[in-house]
């Protein structure tokens, strides 16, 4: 069916007038204190669109065009980028910043442009009946917190009673996101939760780690980004905190987070929302994009954790655009159609395999009620000698019994504050 539709769209394209590009803004940050994370994500995001153009002739025959705008991870600049690029026919925004996301949510709802915040942003945006234009599949922060606790519970024979868990978090909207969930889960599992904040950018964490050394928690969960991650891992090594009991979220688990600490980082764990292996699609990217001189970077980070995630985000955008083209029967989709495509997106194992990235993420379906996907995450561990992340688990399911009521309560509060009547938007 998909192939037939694609053929039909191709035929329509051949017969019809020239179509405009499909515009995908990339609010990237290649400068500033968070550039080390922003660059590989942006490279992966852009390279995948370049691959689709070079290898497949675009999406449904229409070339994709990435409009890059530098935010430096600065919320004001992010909003400026949004305003500057939305008039170009933007189909979906991926700002890679929770701070920018919070500012864009009312704007995209008003402008009718979808916002995809993959594994970050406002967690309760998973409720599509309130946040009609915001999507955070395949997983969100509260899923991540729950997956971490499920993993630790499994490590302790299903019983965390009396265990001491410390959350070390970036003192920002992003870092504070999991606190409520971890508190709820503490009430359920009987562990003792302590939270310790680290101010931006996190270059100096001496007092935080002195406290951890003194309180001797069984586990430390980290919600960090940028230099905070590298310093925290080094400080953990300095106080000889057991690395296997130190778990970062999926924004604290890239290669550059662990390499500055060298061998001392061996055994550090982190969550991931996508598998990082040598996918066949990387060969295509090297052939069609890097060697053709069209890569966003120099090609050296192809296959790294954040490059893979950026590519995964672009793949989800492309698949949603294809879905939108199928739903509306046109190749030249607009932002409203894109939203419909995202809300009808279905990621199956067969689809991921066909795209050259088998098992990169969990299978999930997006619906009006659930913009958050399946919420699954896995745990990986750093092997310093090999310089690789090794997956320790398969995808772990979050505790929906705890998370769903939190999402409902938070999104309903947002709806009440903003005069939104929850319901499904008409296509």
């Amino acid at each position: 069916m998909t192939r037939l539709t694609t053929l039909a769209l191709g035929a329509a394209l051949a017969a019809g007038p020239a179509l405009a590009d499909l515009v995908f803004p990339d609010l990237s940050y290649r400068t500033g204190p968070y550039a080390a994370g922003g660059i590989p994500f942006s490279d992966g995001y852009q390279d995948y669109f370049a691959l689709v153009n070079a290898r497949d002739g675009g999406i449904g025959g229409v070339p994709a065009r990435v409009v890059e705008c530098e935010t430096a991870y600065n919320t004001e600049k992010g909003v400026e980028c949004y305003e500057a690029t939305k008039g170009e026919g933007a189909l979906v925004y991926q700002p890679l910043s929770t701070g920018i996301t919070y500012q864009l949510i009312p704007k995209v709802q008003a402008d009718g442009i979808p916002l995809h915040t993959m594994g970050y942003g406002r967690t309760s945006a998973a409720n599509g009946e309130v946040f009609s234009h915001v999507f955070n599949y395949p997983a969100n922060y509260w899923d991540a917190a729950s997956v971490a606790i499920s993993y630790l519970s499994g490590e302790n024979g299903g019983d965390l009673t009396g265990k001491k868990i410390t959350l070390l978090y970036h003192n920002s909207a992003y870092g504070k996101e999991p606190i409520r969930t971890l508190e709820e889960l503490a009430a359920k599992h009987g562990y003792e939760l302590t939270t310790i904040a680290v101010d931006h950018p996190g270059q100096e964490q001496g007092s935080q780690w002195l406290r951890i050394r003194r309180e001797r928690p069984d586990y430390v969960i980290m919600w960090g980004w940028g230099v905070m991650n590298q310093v925290a891992i080094q400080e953990a090594a300095n106080i000889r905190f057991p690395m296997e009991n130190f778990i970062g979220n999926w924004w604290a688990g890239a290669e550059h987070d662990v390499t500055p600490a060298g061998a001392a980082a061996n055994g550090y764990k982190s969550l991931n929302m996508n598998r990082v292996v040598d996918y066949p699609v990387f060969d295509d990217i090297r052939t069609y994009v890097v060697e053709a001189g069209n890569a966003a970077g120099d090609g050296s980070n192809v296959g790294s954790v954040l490059y893979t995630r950026g590519m995964y985000a672009a793949m989800l955008a492309v698949e949603a655009a294809k879905t939108a083209q199928e739903i509306h029967g046109v190749a030249d989709i607009d932002a409203g159609m894109m939203r419909d495509g995202m809300e009808a997106l279905e990621m199956t194992a067969a689809k991921m395999e066909a795209l050259g990235m088998p098992g990169i993420g969990p299978e999930f379906s997006v619906t009006c009620q659930n913009h958050g996907g399946s919420g699954l995450g896995l745990v990986q561990q750093w092997d310093a000698a090999a310089g690789t992340w090794t997956p320790l688990t398969d995808f772990i399911a979050p505790d929906d019994a705890v998370i769903d009521p939190l999402i409902a309560a938070d999104s309903e509060a947002f709806a009440a504050e903003n005069g939104i009547t929850p319901g499904c938007a008409e296509s």
Binding site: A197, H200, G206, Q208, N238
Partner: protein, 328 residues
Amino acid sequence: MPDQVFFALEVMVNGLMVGVMYALVALGFVLIFKASGIFNYAQGVMALFAALTLVGIQQGQVPFAHLINAIFGTDIHHFGWQVPALLAIVLTVLVMIGLAVLIERIVLKHLVNQEPIILFMATIGLAYFLEGVGDLMWGSDIKVMDVGLPQGISDSIDRATFDWFGYGFFIDRLDIAASIIAALLVAALIVFSQYTREGRALRAVADDHQAALSVGISLRFIWVLVWSIAGFVALVAGIMWGAKSGVQFSLSLIALKALPVLMLGGFTSIPGAIVGGLIIGMGEKLFEFIVGPLVGGATENWFAYVLALLFLVFRPQGLFGEKIIERV
């Protein structure tokens, strides 16, 4: 004594150690301000640039490789050699001296006798320019600083304090190294300024520009000299902070930690930078220890400024700064 007291002592000692790290950054500001009246906004970026250059040289990285490859279609990144740490440090010092010469020739020379605010603006421009050039030269990926500095808990102090007090103190060996290096650096600066001809010229310019010029001291030479020394101090700070976090853009933000130190210690005093650093380091850590848990933590960034402001109210020139008297 209860554990809580020992822990407070441990926090205090660690605060003093961190204070030394802050003072290392503040020293660069003081040197330039004292000699030329310029508040060098680029001091933090100079630390980043120096650290990037050191690692780049050490790893045999080709400077401007991305630019070269983009223009000429080549694919070169490394020379294929590793430079020993000590030699790389010497070469980096030479680069920082070259940078000082360029700054004097291209920027400062043209701004002689301009208002301090103009010179300050020039250093803002310089900061952003250096940030971009550093990025272009060496790339923006996080680099590992490995010059053989020790790191991690000092077992001997841990054991000794445990034997004495029944409570093992955590002291990072990197902080101990930083304290020793800072002490040597200050001693060297004092010897240089007191016992060398150039040092005396530098002090003369700091005391009275016009008088120094009238006896034949070259202001341009002094500027190159002082920016070179500040570049060296920036390199030391870059090495120490880079060892903690890897060499990355955030290193330039350590300048923000030096500002309250300067406000407190005074902009013109080397001992002031050291004492200011110690007070800020200890003060912010103790405040975080005592008050942090009550207010949700993360108090260090703002408390350092509050502490500095309090000092400013009672002593605007800082603890050791020179009182500015303008007669009308």
